[in-house]
């Protein structure tokens, strides 16, 4: 190294690569209101679409009269199922192998279902005309409770498949039954449960909620009848998959479809699926020859686009007297609503619910999931989690608490004695997963020590004493959670969506002056991909992150990928980025060796350059190499410096974490006050600590909302009770507590940079942690289980039923 070369550390820092808390490059435009969202798209002559929706949860549609609506000035068309049928588009396939009505075909199956699509010159005319479409309904009895879907005399919801006994996921035992999915060893598990020292049994309900992204769903379709090209802008978490699906169902050749996901204002799983609005905007554009925009409002978003959770999980957990868990049994009744529109890999109709053995070494387990149709909106998406992983984590983390009560043990200690040990990784779980890496004991001990767990328990005991002595009306709850996620779907051999393997991709072009552009098959919805993926590349190819542009979301320019959800971007596209970077570096090495007049093997990588081994004063920087690649004729080496990588991960990644929440509960009003929340996350290699912290804060706040009040509730008639933000809880700054974040680092052994993904961890781990705190506060009064959401009146009800108001 000559005197001109700054030290390694200085050069590495200048790259702002892995580990740098580089500021988000996206924020300059977002904080100035300069983002470009779907509703910002304005095309010449653009029309607007709006839906007529069903006020009834279950009814026959006797007739639709569009005459008055068509007479409204500015109204161009009113589409009904009858108009879509000749195109074969009155129904569409769902991601779960079912089909869904685009517009009501003879009947409606949930309140808010799309019945007709009005197209007009502006939003106001469209909304006026929606009021004037006359629909004659004949009300039918409803199924709201999934446990009553199969009783004698239950109304048949899906008459279209009433006689179809074989569903997409095996046999159906009733017209309202969708599938039964099993994992593990039923017989062995039941034998263990029957013969165990101790068995704790409980029904754990994870209620129906909704991802509720800040930006609702929408699309702008523009069919150019001259060149036959369809351009579709939309709120898509998987733009490439949307292009393929759009081609398959519309018959338009795939090269004639360009899908663009512009800036997306949050997705959280809500924007993975395909909605009737997208299809109707496309058809309307084809019919009218003009661009057609559809953007739903908040009520439409909450009541008709994909919900999350709604799992009734009956559990049995068996253990020895000493607390060693010997078996886990779970039967889940999954309320899927009117159509099975879950967004899961094809072979996993209940997602990765079979991660429900959690962080524990449970030798024998069994899981069965029954999917059920009800008169509710379709969905079942992974709301800031990998497919059904939050449900699984909530189930096991509640069951551990229930078992601790049964054993009269401390729940922290019960976890500790059952954790999978560090030396057991890679660990094969009883339900079929291979956990890549983990060090749960270290994380757990660090968490307990940091919060002074022992001291907290003493304080809690003192407060309980004061409560019993009438000195306070507040109880203290300590919520514990140790979660393990499974993210990064996934290996193509077992994960696909509609037959599309779940790989992902990155394409890199290095410009002559040494800057670069990288394009990925994913799409950021707020995660900060443009910031973090440039950091991965910076460390791989020695070009500063600030000199790397990152693009996603345009299927005409970006390489094919399966999109962003299930924390898969970093594990899959992040890996593709690193691998593409390594291809760049391999070629750069040849160029450097040629320029330095040595053999390829005689140069070695040094942060941002190749140096001659043993002669550090002789080097070529990446900037020099980039320029050379465009202006030197190098024998045997093509000009230019580009690479593309399609990455099929060998396994999924298994981030984990230890969360501890301390809460005060007013037993008289049911109000809760979060005293502290400690979140230790282990997401393997940390790319940008600042972004990780932001992701953890955001995910925990969503978890707080879900645990303490957020729900999509239906009354017994099938009416949505929480269809607006008046009742659907989104925390403001005021309700949001302070969080303390921490980490350990256990890299993934199979990921090129060891990263595991983190965006969803806080939602997965946060919900059981908040919920466990509530339960813990009442444990000494005999509470074992009370369903979420723990809003004021339900917490009050716990206290009331335990006699604490007497």
């Amino acid at each position: 190294m000559n005197e001109m070369t700054p030290p390694k550390e200085e050069r590495a820092a200048a790259l702002k690569g892995l580990g740098s808390s580089r500021k988000r490059v996206e924020d300059a435009r977002f904080t100035q209101g300069k983002g470009n969202y779907v509703d910002d798209i304005k095309l010449p002559g653009m029309l607007f679409g709006d839906f007529v929706r069903s006020p009834y949860p279950h009814a026959n549609v006797k007739s639709i009269n569009t005459e008055a609506a068509l007479a409204v000035p500015g109204v161009v068309a009113v589409l009904t199922a009858a108009d879509l049928e000749p195109l074969g588009l009155h129904w569409m396939p769902t991601l779960a192998g079912d089909k869904q009505m685009v517009l009501a075909d003879g009947k409606v199956l949930f309140q808010g279902q799309e019945v007709a699509f009005v197209v007009a010159s502006d939003r106001y005319a469209a909304a006026d005309a929606v009021e004037l479409v006359e629909v004659e309904y004949e009300e039918l009895p409803v199924v709201v409770d999934p446990f009553k879907a199969e009783i004698d005399g239950a109304p048949v919801l899906r008459e279209d498949i009433a006689e179809t006994l074989e569903g997409a996921h095996g046999p159906r035992r009733h017209p309202n039954h969708i599938f039964t999915w099993e994992a593990g060893d039923k017989e062995a598990t039941e034998a263990i449960v029957d013969g165990a020292d101790v068995v704790a049994e409980e029904m754990i309900y994870y209620h129906r909620t909704h991802p509720c992204p800040l930006e609702t769903c929408g699309s702008v379709a523009s069919m150019d009848k001259v060149n036959g090209k369809l351009t579709l802008y939309g709120t898509f978490q998987a733009p490439h998959a949307v292009r393929t699906v759009a081609s398959l169902i519309s018959g338009i050749a795939e090269h004639n479809i360009r899908v663009i996901s512009p800036d997306i204002g949050g997705g959280f799983g809500n924007k993975v699926g395909v909605y009737p609005g997208y299809v109707c905007s496309i058809v309307a554009s084809i019919v009218t020859g003009k661009p057609v925009k559809w953007v739903e409002d908040r009520i439409e978003n909450l009541t008709s686009t994909a919900f999350a959770r709604d799992y009734w999980m009956q559990g049995k957990i068996a253990a020895t007297k000493e607390g060693k868990i010997t078996g886990l049994w779970c039967h889940t009744t999954a309320d899927h609503g009117a159509f099975d529109a879950c967004a899961d890999p094809t072979k996993f109709p209940a997602g990765f619910m079979n991660i429900c053995t959690g962080s524990y070494d449970i030798p024998t387990a069994y899981l069965a999931v029954d999917g059920i149709y009800t008169n509710k909106a379709p969905g079942g998406v992974a709301y800031r989690c990998s497919f059904r992983v939050t449900e699984a984590a909530y189930f096991i983390e509640r069951m551990i608490e229930v078992l601790a009560i049964k054993l009269d043990m401390d729940a922290a200690e019960l976890r500790r004695i059952n954790f999978i040990k560090k030396e057991q990784f890679p660990y094969n779980s009883a339900l079929g997963w291979e956990y890549d890496s983990g060090d749960y004991h270290t994380a757990w001990d660090k968490a307990l020590e940091t919060v002074d767990y022992k001291g907290l328990r003493e304080e809690q005991a003192k407060q309980l004493e004061d409560f019993k002595a009438g000195k306070t009306r507040k109880l203290m709850g300590i919520g514990l959670t140790h979660f393990t996620e499974i993210v990064g779907a996934g290996p193509v051999k077992n994960c696909d969506i509609l037959g599309l393997g779940m790989f992902d991709s990155c394409e890199i072009r290095i410009h002559p002056t040494g800057s670069a552009i990288a394009r990925l098959g994913t799409i950021s919805q707020g995660q900060g991909h443009a910031t973090t993926f440039a950091q991965i590349l910076a460390s791989e190819i020695g070009i500063p992150a600030d000199d790397i542009t990152l693009e996603e979301g345009d299927t005409d320019t970006a390489p094919y990928g399966l999109g962003t959800y299930g924390s898969r971007s970093t594990p899959v596209a992040g890996a593709a980025t690193a691998m593409a970077g390594r291809k760049i570096r391999a070629k750069a090495q040849m160029i450097a060796a040629y320029l330095l007049e040595v053999h390829d093997d005689d140069v070695e990588w040094d942060v941002d350059r190749f140096v001659v081994k043993g002669a550090p004063e002789r080097f070529k920087t990446m900037k020099e190499i980039a320029f050379a690649s465009y202006n030197q004729a190098i024998p045997g080496v093509e000009p230019g410096l580009e690479a593309v990588s399609y990455y099929d991960p060998p396994n999924m990644t298994y981030p984990f974490g230890a969360y501890i929440c301390v809460m005060d509960i007013d037993v008289d009003t049911g109000t809760t006050d979060i005293r502290s929340f400690y979140a230790l996350d282990d997401c393997g290699t940390r790319i940008n600590p600042m972004i990780i912290e932001g992701q953890v804060h955001g995910g925990l706040t969503e978890a707080l909302a879900i645990a303490l009040g957020q729900e999509i509730a239906y009354d017994e008639m099938g009416n949505v009770k929480t269809g607006s933000l008046m009742d659907f809880f989104i925390p403001t700054m005021w309700e949001t507590p302070n969080y303390t974040t921490d980490h350990t680092t256990t890299p993934s052994p199979h990921h090129p940079i060891g990263a595991k993904g983190v965006g969803e961890s806080p939602n997965v781990g946060g919900v059981p942690c908040f919920s466990n705190a509530i339960h813990d506060a009442f444990r000494s009064f005999g509470l074992t289980q009370s369903h979420m959401p723990h809003d004021h009146w339900r917490v009050w009800k716990i206290a009331n039923e335990l006699g604490l108001h007497n």
């Binding site: 909304a127 009021e131 049911g670 009770k721 309700e735 004021h792 009146w793 009800k797 009331n800």
Partner: protein, 284 residues
Amino acid sequence: MIPAAFDYHRPASVEDALKIISEHGDDARVIAGGHSLIPMMKLRMTDIGHLIDLQSIDSLKGITVDGATVKIGAMTTQHELIENAALQTAAPIISEAALQIADPQVRYMGTIGGNVANGDPGNDMPGLMQCLDATYTLKGPNGLRDVPAREFYEAAYFTGREDDEILTEIQFSAPGGGYAYEKQKRKIGDYATAAAGVLITKDGDTCASASIALTNLADTPVYCEEAVDALVGSSLDAAAVSAAVSAAVDASDPGEDNRGPVAFKKHAAGIVIRRAIERAIERA
């Protein structure tokens, strides 16, 4: 969330506003801050042909404190109520309550007149005005008339205001003594699960006067006369406070909604009322 078409009027005087009302009758509605009316229009739950925006009528704005007499123009915003120093001295319970209404963005637009005139049982100011024994001034084609807040509310969204009248001003006497406005809500921006306003003055150790009113615990605000009787003349001892709390809870008549069932609401109301009384006593 797209409203039907309407004509927009922005008169500069109350007289002009009244003239527009008389021209269009039922088809016209005045709008103050718009927090209730605009969502109703966007949901198409109300159909209004002529919207009369009062924001350019200067005579409807402002707060005057003249000795013990407080007058507040109907178009005074919640934010202005919170910021006004003279009002803070004369009736600090107003800012205590106003600060519990939604968030700053809402309070910059929301007005006291709109809040009390709409007759929404969820609004905080009607109960507070009953607590303060305020008087509303209404102006109509036949001139001015005054209606006590305690007689103004008939049922949810039904009030003593005639369709051709505009509520122009609110007047009350500075209460003195101790005060408290206590509210339980699910989140910022929510209506009360239970809320109570309490005023108490003492003469030595005896309660000289008291006022208690409830928000969102019935179809209308509830002025709790029997609860007041339980306090006045007492030494504000525990027995008197408990008697007042139970009388006030008895006077409430909440309905079940997403905030919870009646039993919970009554229980929470008891806690909220007790806290308000105890805080008012501390400050008296």
